[in-house]
Amino acid sequence: MKKKKQGKKKLPLPLPKKSVFPPFSLSLEGTLGSKTGSWRYLTPAYINKLAPCNEACPAGEDVEAVMALAGQEEYLAAWEKTTQENPLPRICGRVCFHPCEGACNRREFDEATAINALERFLGDYAYQSGKQFSPPKEKRKGKVAIIGSGPAGLSCAYHLASLGYQVTIFEGQPKLGGVLRYGIPSYRLPKDILDQEIENILSLGVEVRTDTRLGKEVTWKALKPYSAIFIATGAWKSVPLQIPGEEAGRVMSGLEFLQKVNSGETIKLGQRVAIIGGGNTAMDAARSALRLGAKPLVIYRRTKEEMPAWEEEVAEAEEEAIEFIFLISPVKIITESGKVKGIECLKNLLGPPGKDGRPQPQPIEGSNFILQVDTVISAIGEVPDFSFLPEEMQKSAGSLIVNETGTTSMPKVFAGGDVVAQPRTVSYAIGSGKKAAIAIEATLQGKDAAEALRQARWGEKGSISMDRYKQGGLDGPAEEVVKFSELNTAYFQPKKRKPREKLPAAERTSGFAEVNLGISRETALEEAKRCFNCGVCNLCHNCFLFCPDMAISARPDQQGYAINLDYCKGCCICVEECPRGAISVEVGK
């Protein structure tokens, strides 16, 4: 039947004549006239968020950005990104206990990304490429004295020198490094690596005064001309066992022992060495004693579960066939003519948790027994030595008292590392050195240090970023940490991480050769590519491909994507399909 003519009049557009009728329905113009954006009640927005590894890194590294650069094989740029926050990637890549990996979202998918191994690779790669720190662009007025050259002191010196300040490090020992040199054995951290990273920092023009103890070679008064002082003297005083016989020869503290080993002194240990304690110092002491030819025995008063040492260190000690006895407390060191003969011990039961929440050992009366040993090394804890600090400086039982900015009770005197109350790890020390550098810089510039640090923080766990400080902080939403549930894991392939290679246990104990081996360039790249890049747009193009309105386009500056709100009808498919949670939904805009 033919169409009735009156039907045509109602149409908004005149119909073409039947002779030019297209065979199918076809618009006269394109779709640009149809602004579907007017339908929108939800609006997607590109908002980069915080990756959980960044928040978890005590040294404040931008782990996500480092992984992204490494994934593009931009290893030197990745090293620069790392060292913006932490000048010691070769060291951290070996000794950090990597809380970043503990927070890694990939753990819920298959296994955490090997961030620590990659950091070591980047550090070593940059060193082999002859990479050095760039000198500061401008000199700033202000001289800062840093007391102690462990990781906190070195980190503070690096950041202040990079900002253009004149820095002097005072170190009581003949060489720089503090716990890195005199505490950590070289099978975990070879000395040449330590020397190289220190050298790199010193090349920024840092003045050094070694063999200079505070209160001896330099007085507190003599530090007066400095605009600020950073105290990073660590925790070097061993907690005594407080049992009879402790004063005998061949009874020493773990730190004292490690210090001697690390200084290359010859130590007579005898055959059987008892190490008292279950922390990292105990593990280091036991493993060092083993390497010196002795037969170490670790005595711990609780069980293996309660040992404060890092799991990996305990595992390595076990691989090396070091003996452990648990639920045992020493009560007396048996001596004969001033020499250790044995150690009298008591068996314990594990009791209910004490004030610190840890189960308390309860001695079993009459369970005494004697172990024949030649040397006793006590490693039951360390506390800071305050003897060289001014009396008026406020202290608590085990630490210097500092406020939120790391300032002590004395103006312009800051403190960080093991001397203050914080977890005693290299990365926390590095973080506190950086925190002090920012607080010092803000104070010297007449700014509010607390506000400066607030702006520089990564998330809520105390991680501080120099990069964010320099940028003056970012807006609120970027503080949000991306959860695993916010990722679209359909876009990721399961891929196991490569286990870290180690020297075989049999080859380790004859000397102090490094136990953990590095990863190859191929493995480093594979690991970097395993990173989800949580919360940060990496131009994967998914949003562009999925937008049904073609409202998303790549920005001409290659810095992400733009949304044309004239056409975005707010379906938010882009938000759903973003693999890494870098797009947020805003209601009503």
Binding site: M1, K3, G7, K8, K10, L11, L15, K18, F21, P22, P23, F24, S25, L26, S27, L28, E29, G30, T31, L32
Partner: protein
């Protein structure tokens, strides 16, 4: 060049020779080897086409339909449930008047689960606006692919080529592969009148309101009428160049037959042998193999069949509650003839059951013996 090819392989050669530019398909038995071979041809460069892998038949047809709208010569293939899954897109392809060419290797539709041949899959899509051509041999499948592009691009309708699953798709036969030069001369590149072009943006398939919708459908119906002539003409041209032709109905063996067996697909080959033998016994029987089911050649059938007294329609399909689909259409076509033959309906070979020469002989003898059908289709070989 002659080669021993299966029906599926012959189809792949047909697609290669037709220089398809975009291919998208999802594997399903018994079609799979068509696109398997095409993907190899794409990979090794024999066929410089874009091969798009998809997650479903719905997407496969959506892909090739869109590519066709953008001006490409396209191909897809499927079977059974895959074709059913394409149902919505079948309408869109034909409504958009796009010359998409598809091969469906006929296979029963479950349940019960079955991978073997019958025509219920394609016949349940008879109203989707696609031309349907049923092939009898591997050679015909190859030739029909080339012909199909020519017809489709002329009348702007999609073409579905049907080959019996396994009987044709997986059986080898000698196939003469035409020279590419000759095929190029026969089938020039596709030059669409309308295509999606970012430099001249238009929306395709915009809403057509009640004042124009029926006109588009009428246009498509006219195109179907045109297609009847085009199919016959293109087949003639093909025969002139390549020496092979098939017409709207394949070999019609009708020497003054009083009883004519009408069927589609490979069954016709078996039937021909039976009919030849019966003719030698002096029986006046003939064969009509229907090649073109859509558009339905009603007028042509009237001409051919009006002289016969009885028609036996052998359906390899059944419309539940009605009967054989081909029989219904044949009856409707003959209805207005002043002296129409009686139509006997038979259902056989569903789900791949063999239709044997004995079955066909029985069908013909039943038709000869009985003066008129008993009102119900007869199901061949039902277990008692």
């Amino acid at each position: 060049m002659k080669k021993l090819l299966t029906g599926n392989s012959a189809v792949s050669y047909g697609v290669m020779l037709s220089r398809a530019e975009v291919i998208s398909a999802y594997p399903i038995t018994p079609q799979t080897t068509i696109v398997e071979e095409l993907s190899e041809m794409c990979a090794d460069g024999r066929l410089p086409a874009k091969f798009i892998r998809v997650e479903s038949e719905h997407s496969a047809l959506a892909c090739v339909t869109a590519a066709c709208a953008a001006g490409a010569r396209v191909f897809t293939a499927t079977s059974s449930h895959g074709l059913a899954y394409m149902h919505e897109m079948l309408h869109w392809a034909s409504g958009s008047r796009l010359p998409v060419v598809m091969v469906n290797a006929n296979r029963a539709i479950g349940s019960p689960w079955n991978i073997w041949c019958d025509h219920s899959d394609s016949l349940s899509q008879r109203d989707t606006g696609w031309i349907q051509l049923y092939c009898q041999s591997a050679q015909e499948a190859l030739d029909t692919v080339i012909q199909a592009y020519k017809v489709a691009e002329e009348v702007l309708l999609p073409v579905m080529i049907l080959e019996d699953g396994f009987f044709l798709s997986h059986t080898s036969d000698t196939v003469d592969i035409p020279e590419p030069k000759e095929v190029d001369a026969f089938l020039p590149p596709y030059k669409p009148r309308y295509k999606l072009d970012p430099n001249d943006p238009h929306t395709f398939n915009i809403m057509a309101d009640p004042s124009v919708f029926i006109d588009f459908k009428h246009e498509a119906q006219m195109a179907m009428e045109k297609a009847k002539k085009a199919i016959t003409r293109v087949d003639r041209e093909f025969k002139a160049r390549f020496g092979r032709g098939y017409g709207w109905a394949g070999k019609v063996h009708l020497p003054d037959a009083e009883v004519v067996l009408l069927t589609m697909g490979t069954t016709a080959s078996t039937a021909l042998e039976v009919i030849k033998a019966l003719c030698q016994q002096g029986k006046k029987v003939g064969l009509c193999r229907l090649r073109m089911f859509r558009p339905f050649p009603a007028e042509e059938l009237c001409q051919v069949l009006s002289g016969a007294k009885k028609i036996a329609v052998l359906d390899r399909d059944n419309s539940l509650g009605a009967g054989g689909i081909v029989a219904q259409e044949v009856k409707a076509a003959l209805f207005n003839l002043p002296r129409r033959p009686k139509v006997f309906e038979f259902i056989a070979g569903l789900g791949g059951r063999d239709i044997t020469p004995e079955d066909i002989q029985e069908i013909l003898e039943y038709t000869i013996k009985n003066p008129s059908p008993n009102g119900q289709p007869l199901w061949v070989g039902i277990q008692k």
